[in-house]
Symmetry: C2
Subunit: 189 residues, 2 copies
């Protein structure tokens, strides 16, 4: 789906601002300044300020998790690459990942934000499900594929949270590899 | 380790208050009232107000995750029971689990809280590690046991977060069971 270039620019500015200033520094004025647009333009593209970070996170995750560089990879390598994408964000864009969890936590208390986040999670689920389906024998049933995709999503969020809390990248990379090895056995079963 | 009964009473009151009023309603006055102690007594037992929820979550998780009812269980049943404990908290004590993630998120931005949380996570890690060690063949190496324990922790946190965001208990129970099945293969390998 094509996005209006101004809207895309606002999302990019939102990621830059969140990464630099965190959720605290995220205001309509600061965002408009960062994107080089007026506040009127900002609210032309987004109904509320809260929508912007959610949309920005969605666009980031979906670009990282469905990036073309994942396409040629087999099952193991694909799942390892997903974990590496989260490890990389946690290492290089810590402030940004922190901001992500702030917004996720805020969504726990806000029905509308939760619904919005849920749309993004479903989209990511569908794209990971398709990627797994392409890499697994066709004998794997649809319900098994759903559960497996969900397990991958649960693992990725758990990984992100633990990376932020413990900073133990090396240990968590080993943990992710073990997870991938266990899942890969389904392929070989 | 025995805990001063007043301290234990404050922790219990903190859990009740967080479950009812969320992190927003958590103040020194409200907590002192809930526990039936003076604010002076409260601050005699805890240096700062932020320490209280963290200590309360620690005591809750450690009692749930190391409860005597887990003792007779084999590897699969033990891991299933850990997942069920999180599912139960998410179902019956939603507000409380929400508050837990609020504090975890706050810890992302506060070195001291993160250090405190890290102590609690390490303790839980040790107790789960011991439980796994008792259920696995002695041929499982110490590093493998560490990684496996960490994987279980990552999975449990991911599970909790997804339960709160999607409320899809039935799907997530299936997801957890698949995770357990995959891990249980290590026992049988």
């Amino acid at each position: 789906m094509m996005m209006h270039p101004t809207k895309a620019r606002i999302l990019e500015a939102a990621l830059a601002l969140l990464g630099r200033a965190g959720a605290e520094g995220f205001s309509a004025s600061a965002l408009a300044r960062e994107a080089g647009v007026s506040k009127a333009t900002l609210f032309h593209h987004f109904g509320t300020l809260d929508e912007v970070p959610l949309a920005a996170f969605e666009s980031l995750w979906s670009s990282r998790m469905t990036a073309p560089h994942l396409e040629g990879l087999g099952m193991r390598a694909y799942m390892e690459a997903l974990g590496e994408a989260v490890i990389e964000v946690a290492g290089k864009e810590r402030a940004f990942l922190n901001a992500y969890f702030v917004f996720v936590t805020r969504a726990l208390f806000d029905e509308r934000m939760r619904a919005r986040l849920s749309v993004g999670m479903d989209e990511l689920h569908r794209s990971m499900r398709a990627a797994l389906a392409a890499r697994l024998p066709s004998s794997v049933s649809a319900p098994l594929l759903d559960t497996l995709t969900r397990l991958l999503g649960v693992g990725l969020d758990g990984l992100g949270l633990h990376l932020l809390l413990t900073s133990d990248e090396a240990e968590l990379r080993k943990t992710w590899r073990m997870f991938v090895e266990l899942i890969a056995q389904i392929e070989e079963a």
